[in-house]
């Protein structure tokens, strides 16, 4: 970038920083208000066995109502989310330490979350809970079926899991290949069946359709017929394009060329859909930053609903 471009970008960042500084100085953004509702569970004798509070998010304009308070943990979460979003966005300007930090946090948090949720949703109820149900019910999952009996078949997946983890041991790493071979074989087996049935046989059946489509009155439905003909032409020409046992010359070559056109239209449609998807993701993140973090013209907060003001009025609404 030349000096003039650098200067323009510097001005843009300074304007953004001034705006943020002004919002921080006025203090009217970046907080989450909650309202506490007491919940209690009664014992059989009518006494209160347990009680706690549940907190529901409320719009900022309700902050003066009784029982409404700033939720510190949720506010920290909001700021963390906003700062991490900006860190990730900073990659658009160029690779930098902020982006790297945010990326590492995402990877680490996702891995930890996956491990914890896998442990509590699969290993505890479905593995340990089936091998030693009474013990599992006693310390981990009280809701487990009280009549459940030990099912020792589940020792088999337990043994396979231990064999798989053997890879981490200093010796005998080859042991992990056996369960791996089992998983690959089983997965290939049922994937083959799924693809054969849904993507091969059913798709061939879906292509065998009448070219002249009749409407309920008995006449020819022109547009439906054009659609059917286009689909059949597309399928045949694309199949011929990928058929390499014949040289692509003459009628075969011309049909293959038509197949390329169908493929290009398909790729174009795919690109269009991808653009739509990416813009939707960007608008969702900007909505988060503008509405939830900066409190700019939030349509879901009742305080500004129906008003033309760009900046959400002070907390009093």
């Amino acid at each position: 970038m030349n000096n003039r471009t650098n200067a323009v970008w510097a001005i843009i960042f300074v304007i953004a920083a001034i705006f943020l500084g002004w919002r921080i100085a006025t203090g009217n953004f970046g907080r989450i208000y909650v309202k506490g509702d007491p919940v209690s569970v009664k014992a059989e004798d009518g006494s209160v066995a347990a009680s706690w509070q549940t907190y529901t998010k409320v719009p900022p304009r309700d902050h003066l109502e009784s029982g409404v308070s700033v939720s510190i943990p949720r506010t920290i979460g909001l700021w963390a989310s906003a700062i991490l979003t900006l860190c990730i966005f900073s990659f658009l300007y160029g690779d930098n330490p902020f982006y790297k930090t945010a990326e590492s946090i995402v990877v680490g948090a996702s891995a930890a979350y996956l491990m914890v949720i896998g442990f509590w949703t699969q290993i505890i109820p479905n593995l340990i809970g089936n091998i030693v149900p009474d013990w599992t019910r006693a310390w981990a999952t009280p809701g487990l079926d009280p009549e459940a009996k030990a099912d020792l078949v589940y020792l088999l997946p337990l043994i396979l899991s231990i064999m798989l983890l053997w890879r981490l041991a200093p010796v005998g790493g080859w042991i992990s290949r056996w369960p791996l071979a089992f998983f690959i074989g089983a997965t290939a087996g049922f994937r083959l069946i799924g693809f054969m049935e849904a993507d091969f046989v059913a798709q061939i059946r879906a292509t065998i359709i009448p070219i002249w489509v009749r409407n309920p009155a008995g006449g020819v439905d022109i547009w439906a017929s054009v659609g059917a003909l286009t689909m059949i032409l597309g399928v045949i020409s694309c199949l011929i394009y990928f058929f390499f046992s014949l040289e692509h010359k003459g009628i075969v070559g011309r049909t293959a060329r038509l197949g390329i056109w169908f493929l290009m239209v398909t790729f174009g449609a795919g690109f269009g859909y991808t653009v739509m998807g990416r813009i939707a993701l960007l608008s969702q993140r900007l909505e988060f930053l503008f509405y939830e973090w900066l409190w700019l013209n939030n349509p879901t907060a009742d305080a500004v609903s129906g008003t033309a003001s760009l900046i959400m009025p002070a907390l009093g609404g």
Binding site: S110, P125, N126, G270, I279, T300, S305
Partner: protein, 284 residues
């Protein structure tokens, strides 16, 4: 000008895109949507179910697809709640659990008369990808011994008589990728001839169209179809028009329009620059 445009730094394009998306968001620009025939097929698949029908709400999503799929998930939830259908939420993606909880919060806030365990329940996430589908289609209790909160499924009233996913009257899948709609079609909709509708990300939607209409009743492809479906639900249940969060997809179509216009202009501009360069013999 030619030299400037030919060597334009891509960061200016990013800035333009930011402005194109941010401006309609701040100005709350929205456009009317007319549901397409495909969206109406999805709408009618739910609308025509009798009250109390069982619907599997399979949310195979993650936060990265939230911008596109959350409006669909919320609209499906509201539509099923309005129809008084029984909703069974489950997920094949670990990060889908918070989004299921978002859907359940809609039910708690907007439909307080509906009761957990009687009208809706959260089976939660199970690891195993399509392996989970293969099990639940024949025996749901083999894998789901408890719901997401650790309550035994045998104590949950709406699980009475539900031994497998075959008991469901309709499968509603919101999918961000694999495992998702493709696997539900492969292992449930096709072999067991189950009725199914889906909402998918834009990237995934073109791969799913060949399944319509024999294997899938219809799909909502990307945010455009989500907005149309929201409109269809609002047309059917006009009181939802008062709820701002019921129009998330509709709201996101403003930035879509301006963003797409910008992309089209940039594609045209890039082609013009290319052809000018070719005519000048500029091979850089």
């Amino acid at each position: 000008m030619y030299e400037f445009l030919k060597t334009l730094d891509r960061r200016w394009v990013f800035l333009l895109m930011f402005l194109a998306v941010a401006t309609p968001i701040l100005l709350k620009v929205t456009f009317p949507e007319k549901p397409s025939a495909m969206v109406m097929d999805v709408f009618r698949a739910i609308e025509d179910l009798p009250e109390g029908s069982k619907v599997l709400m399979a949310w195979d999503v993650d936060p990265a697809s939230r911008g596109e799929l959350e409006p669909m998930a919320s609209a499906f939830t509201r539509h099923c709640a309005e129809k008084k259908l029984k909703m069974y939420y489950m997920a094949l993606w670990p990060l889908a659990v918070p989004m299921i909880q978002d859907s359940i919060r809609i039910l708690e806030r907007e439909y307080p008369h509906l009761e957990y365990g009687k009208d809706y329940m959260n089976l939660g996430y199970k690891p195993g990808n399509e392996g989970v589908i293969k099990v639940v289609i024949t025996n749901i209790r083999k894998l789901y011994t408890t719901d997401h909160y650790g309550t035994g499924v045998e104590t949950i009233p709406m699980m009475n008589g539900v031994s497998s996913v075959q008991a469901m009257d309709l499968i509603v899948n919101v999918s961000a990728g694999d495992p998702g709609t493709k696997q539900w079609v492969q292992y449930v909709a096709t072999p067991f001839n189950k009725r199914m509708v889906a909402g998918a990300t834009g990237v995934q939607a073109p791969q799913l169209y060949p399944y319509i209409p024999a294997q899938l009743i219809g799909i909502l492809g990307a945010i455009k179809a989500a907005a149309e479906y929201e409109q269809a639900v609002i047309d059917g249940y006009p009181h939802l028009a008062r709820i701002a969060t019921a129009k998330e997809g509709l709201r996101r179509m403003g930035p879509q329009l301006v963003g797409h216009v910008l992309i089209v202009l940039l594609v045209i501009l890039a082609n013009v620059i290319y052809f000018i360069g070719r005519r000048r013999g500029d091979t850089r």
